[in-house]
Amino acid sequence: MTGEGGKRWLARKTWIDAAYDPKMRALAFQALLALVLVFLFVEVVRNTAANLEKQNIASGFDFLARTAGFDISQTLVPYTSKSTYARAFFVGLSNTLLVAVLGIALATVLGFALGIARGSPNWLASRLALAYVEVVRNVPLLLQLLVWYVAVLRALPMPQGALALPGGAFLDTRGLHLPRLVVENGGGLVAAVIGLSLIGAAWLWRRRRARADEPADPVDVVGRGLVVLLPVLAVLLALKATLATPQLGRFNYEDGLSIEPEFLALLIGLSTYTAAFIAEIVRAGLDGVPKGQREAAAALGLSRRQALRFVILPQALRIIIPPLTNQYLNLTKNSSLAVAIGYPDLVSVFSGTVLNQTGQAVEVILITMAVYLAISLATALLMNWFNVRTAWAER
């Protein structure tokens, strides 16, 4: 064969080889699939836009910059009816995150306590925990939210007959009214000092953890508390901070910090419900640690508490964390039931009011779905990271 023809033959041979090579073939198919998906996506977007256009329905994302025109009862970010729809979106998002983060914290504490109580040798404690789990787990969440909201919080007295709580707080059918810290200027300074002292306390805590074999030292606990409290108090005094206590106005308690009953009902409902599931996960995790570990801990002279704290729980966490992540995701998604009790979360503000006032269903639903996806992925990533860390720490 001549050189030229040989080369061509070779080239063809490699091409054919490639076609038979399973790796190359898989790659080609995947590329093809990706192309088809991209094409479909582009086609769907194009088609949707065309259909909306044909029906004379406004489309696009310009609406986000327009004035919203409605008010929202609870706003963590500054918002008035003159703010934009984009701002309203952030109000809804921050409300969702607030209830989710606090709900996760409460559900975790309550869930761990219940789960540990379930395995406790104390008969009453373990029975009570079992009863809680069985009742709460088996009643639909929506129903529980309505019970908290309508039956419990609505039954509270009107503002004129509000229950006075210690510390100048009041509880009535319009919510919980707390004294509010008023700092004329220098709110940023207060926040910075609180942050710094928290970091200091965390550092102390870590240092103590390094000596975890020693029993808790009460002086140390107090010390940690002081590290946070003292600087904050000092700064507050220096800035002449005052407490604004709630005062009964013509209709409502004013001046204080009011926590709406919609938020309270959602927070209590979500965390007590999820705690029941977490309790089961914790119990299963504790049961999953081999019995020998308990016995070994006892043989070393550790008390039941110490064994739990230093031997059993760290190992159980490895079993607990993956299903716990699921519960956190559930709680976050369940928070969208807020719409049933009027809490202004992302779903009720954005895919409720904004969707209705603008009529831009496609855009609003897409954004909402993307947000829930992002929150879920972020939670999962965080928990995976934590999972890897605890798995490593245990060995």
């Binding site: 088609n47 409605f70 209705n356 009529g359």
Partner: protein, 343 residues
């Protein structure tokens, strides 16, 4: 649960759009579709006395309901060939856009943005309303300006939610909005004392007040804070259908003006008044232009009577609400009801 159904409704709308099958083919005739189905599908309130509510036997009644029956009568000569789809404030426009209903006749305010960006058109005004506030009598309030700092219940997705914000913003007053998606929740919250005031269109406040356990303990403040022209809407792009719905409205108003009623309509067909003769199809071929029979208006009037009759039966002296005609009287009587002539 309604929240779910509203979500499903939106979802079906989305999938229809995404899959390319235009959910309602704008070019195709709604009239043909309705005739083929043998039934008109009308989007109405979930339960608002006087406008649209099922009675204990499940029969729908109200001004908005009568209007649906009137359109059905114009098409089929039979006012019972209607299916009613109850819709809350949030669901209503999507239901019309997707073609789930042929007409939206649900105490809906005609506003510019709704008319121009939702792919629908309002055909006229069936009731001239305005937004008001209801409060407990015991508060002793004289005007809405005294509501500074009050908690106020309102339904989301309504014009009322927007007017409320405007009202307080223009006066530089604060208030606490308490917003729900469904009317029962709004009313329940107000009744339980979650709110100091409940705001919506005044006719709706009058109707909702009768549902409270102690109606006498509640009063409406005198302020009307907005214009709420309520009327039926249809999808954009089907001019014939718009015409049918619009002229059904004009027919019941003109009939009242001409003294044609449910009971005398047959006799009036041989009236010597040319205006009546044209309206009732004795003279001319006015139905043809709509794609209907020439006695279309006779069918409407035999089914539901004229505007005044429907008003009195549902909202006025013949009803528990006892709302005065006021702005909704005929133009001849000092009101705003006015319809172009049939000629």
């Amino acid at each position: 649960m309604r929240a779910t159904s509203s979500f499903l409704c939106t979802l079906s709308f989305l999938s229809a759009l995404l899959l390319g099958a235009s959910p309602v083919v704008a070019q195709s005739s709604t009239l043909e579709a309705v005739k083929k189905r043998g039934q008109l599908v009308c989007g109405v309130n979930t339960g608002l006395a006087g406008f649209g509510a099922p009675d204990d036997k499940g029969n729908w009644t109200g001004l908005d309901i009568d209007f649906c029956r009137a359109v059905a009568a114009a098409i089929f000569g039979d006012g019972t060939r209607v299916r009613f789809v109850p819709l809350n404030a949030k669901e209503r426009f999507t239901a019309l856009q997707t073609g789930e209903v042929d007409i939206l006749s649900r105490n809906t305010t005609w506003t510019m943005s709704r008319d121009t960006s939702l792919g629908l058109n309002f055909v006229g005004i069936l009731y001239f309303d305005g937004q008001a506030f209801m409060v407990r009598k015991s508060l002793g309030l004289k005007s809405a300006d005294e509501l500074k700092g009050a908690s106020i219940c309102v339904q989301s997705g309504t014009t009322n939610e927007l007017n409320l914000a405007d009202f307080f913003a223009t006066r530089g007053l604060t208030y606490r909005p308490v917003v729900y998606e469904r009317l029962v929740e709004v009313l329940g919250a107000y009744a339980n004392g979650r709110c100091d005031a409940f705001t919506t269109d005044s006719s709706q406040l009058i109707a909702e007040r009768t549902r409270l356990t102690d109606p006498e303990e509640h009063v409406m403040l005198p302020d009307l804070v907005s214009k709420e022209p309520l009327g039926p809407a249809v999808r954009q792009g089907d001019a014939q259908w718009s015409n049918i719905v619009r002229w059904t409205l004009f027919a019941i108003i003109n009939a009242e003006e001409l003294g044609v009623t449910q009971s005398n309509v047959e006799a009036q067909r041989s009236s010597s008044n040319p205006e009546i003769r044209r309206l009732l199809g004795t003279e001319g071929e006015y139905g043809k232009g709509l794609g209907l029979a020439d006695d279309w208006a006779v069918s409407i009037l035999s089914a539901v009577g004229n505007y005044g009759e429907s008003f009195e039966r549902n909202l006025g002296q013949g009803s528990p609400l006892k709302i005065a005609r006021g702005r909704n009287a005929l133009w001849k009587d000092g009101g705003l009801m006015y319809a172009p002539p049939v000629r």
